[in-house]
């Protein structure tokens, strides 16, 4: 067994990128994710990589596009306002089917907001964001170890599906420390990239683009993308499920609230309350089936988020129609403590709204 080091979430993520073979980082500072560029500025040059302190987030995402088009693993990271500025670029990456890893260590919004942790950008990452019919693959680490492991996974998925992949973590996950194994669990996968632009030497020219002007070309393209997203939904769901066997109430949460929920669930169980947990690790693809099946059995769901209610809509859609769903949200840097969640558990078990 490899030794675990007390590691900060952001650092685990940055080291994960290096170990995933990412050698190109472009970014513009913003709290609370500056550990990532700062770590990579120090360490990428040591392994022959390139770190550019870009002039903006727009430049960053487009530099990522250039490096990614070259067939290289490339990444950028930011938070709220900076991620908003990347939306055009992300849409282009999706439209031209280029891999890229984009990290959002979430702080409060809207606007300049604050630097405290939230999950206010769930919808932006999972549903909205850029223009057009596209999806990001979205991973939501819940521990420092996952900040490392899922970063590697993010690069693999991005390459496998030629799709932008976002890692979203509230600032708490980025800032806290835990023991972490800083070597990959299994050898990192590197899919072939027969689409990469590397100079046409001895082959046909290649093209990466997102403009389709021919009659119905764009519709076909959109339908192909949709097919790809369906395949991702089919194959790539990652979810953690705990104590569901006898659960009468299931908490659904990701990131920090999921951790708080675990503690609250232990407290509830000590009081004899039958509570379980579903923690989506992939937000897209969303663990729709799992939620459907288990909500059918358990009947009651409690969604806990650090926002005013975003993932809860996906849960509503996924859940069995007879399931009753409660929501507990703390936006803007307020976060739930275990006993807050315990109180919500009790409320939900006593009835709670549909």
């Amino acid at each position: 067994m490899t030794e675990k080091k007390l590691t900060k979430g952001n650092i685990a993520l940055a080291e994960g990128a290096i170990q995933a073979g990412c050698r190109y980082y472009f970014g513009y500072p913003i709290t609370p994710q500056n550990d990532i560029p700062e770590y990579l500025a120090r360490n990428l040059p040591k392994c022959g990589g390139t770190f550019i302190p870009a002039e903006s987030e727009i430049a960053s995402i487009n530099m990522v596009m250039g490096a990614s088009a070259s067939g290289k693993r490339a990444m950028t990271s930011s938070s709220g306002p900076g991620i908003s500025l990347m939306q055009e670029g992300i849409s282009y990456l999706a439209g031209s089917e280029m891999p890229a890893v984009i990290v959002n260590i979430m702080r409060c919004g809207p606007g300049l907001g604050g630097i405290a942790p939230t999950q206010g950008d769930y919808n932006q990452a999972v549903h909205g964001g850029g223009h057009g019919d596209y999806r990001n693959i979205v991973l939501a680490p819940g521990s420092v170890q996952e900040m490392f492991d899922l970063t590697i996974k993010a690069f693999e998925l991005a390459d496998k599906y030629r799709n932008p992949t976002m890692i979203i973590a509230d600032a708490m996950i980025g800032q806290f420390q835990e023991p972490c194994r800083l070597v990959p669990e299994k050898p990192v996968e590197f899919p072939e990239k027969p689409w990469a632009l590397t100079g046409r030497r001895g082959r046909e020219p290649r093209l990466l683009k997102s403009l389709y002007l021919g009659d119905y070309e764009q519709e076909e393209h959109n339908l192909l993308l949709k097919q790809k997203y369906d395949e991702i939904q089919e194959k790539e769901v990652m979810v953690e499920m705990q104590r569901l066997d006898d659960a009468e109430l299931i908490i659904i949460a990701f990131g920090t609230p999921a951790r708080v929920a675990k503690t609250a669930i232990s407290m509830a169980r000590e009081e004899g309350l039958k509570v379980g947990l579903i923690r989506p690790i992939t937000l897209f693809p969303f663990p729709t089936k799992q939620i459907y099946e288990h909500s059918k059995k358990a009947g009651k769901l409690l969604v806990v988020e650090m926002n005013t209610g975003q993932m809860v809509r996906d849960v509503r859609i996924a859940a069995h129609r007879d399931a009753s769903i409660s929501f507990y949200g703390r936006p803007g840097g307020g976060f739930p403590f275990p006993d807050d969640v315990l109180a919500e558990i009790k409320k939900a078990l006593d009835g709670g709204p549909r």
Partner: protein
């Protein structure tokens, strides 16, 4: 008899989508000729901006990346860093470079990225129907300056070649025009030189070309050529604004 002038190998057979008499077409051919002459076609990657140049990949038989509007210099930066052994060029219009992409071009230039940028200045947003650009001439009527550009409210046309030349990282910045055989030949030399700068790793090179958009200027192709001479050159003087002769920045 032998062909003493034929379509360069680095131009595909595809007929262009350009309007009749649009000098984008001349710029394309010159770039293709330069690639032929320098033997770099196999290792050149083109990055069109968004504008009438967006179909660049149809005309050059090379790898190409379609950049978001204005961001070609940033894409080129990422690409050149990732594959310094290849030749990377961006091709931008004045909307693309001098308006929405101002920040990206300035910082790519300032970092001295070893890339080449071809800049078609036709004083309007051609592709979207001829709206006012930062390069639109004073008094010029466009669909969004229907009463003529007025410096009191819209300022003066921006001179990219001059502005970029002030940046340390720039190896080569020049302005040429595409409206007469003499000028076209000059432009050709400038394009070649710009590629050579990159091949020799001298840093950022940029060729601004005064070009026509007769469609949106609402004149005939020939009148458009005359307007370059008569109206554009007086404000946008031709010349080399910066040319590094050695790696003197080292």
């Amino acid at each position: 008899m032998n062909a003493i002038f034929k379509r360069p190998d680095s131009l595909t057979d595809a007929p262009t989508h350009f309007c009749p008499g649009c000098t984008h077409g001349i710029a394309h051919r010159l770039i293709a000729e330069a690639m032929d002459e320098l033997g770099i076609t196999d290792r050149t990657i083109g990055i069109p901006g968004v504008g009438c140049c967006v179909f660049l990949y149809r005309y050059f038989p090379i790898d190409a990346l379609e950049a978001p509007h204005g961001r070609a210099p940033a894409c080129a930066t990422g690409m050149k860093r990732a594959q310094p052994e290849n030749i990377i060029f961006a091709y931008q219009g004045d909307g693309d470079m001098a308006a929405i992409g101002t920040s990206e071009i300035i910082h790519a230039a300032n970092r001295g990225e070893n890339i080449t940028v071809f800049f078609i200045n036709n004083s309007v947003y051609g592709m979207t129907g001829g709206q006012m650009a930062p390069t639109t001439l004073l008094g010029q009527q466009t669909t969004t300056s229907p009463y003529g550009r007025d410096f009191n409210t819209e300022g003066y046309p921006i001179k990219m070649a001059e502005m970029l030349a002030t940046l340390e990282g720039v190896a080569y910045s020049t302005r040429v025009a595409l409206h007469s055989p003499k000028h076209v030949n000059q432009a050709k030399r400038a394009i070649r030189k710009a590629f050579e700068m990159q091949i020799n790793e001298m840093g950022f090179s940029m060729v601004e070309m005064l070009s026509t958009c007769n469609t949106n200027w609402r004149v005939t192709p020939l009148e458009a050529l005359q307007m370059i001479e008569r109206e554009m050159i007086p404000y946008f003087p031709l010349g080399v604004f910066k040319e590094r002769t050695g790696k003197d920045f080292l």
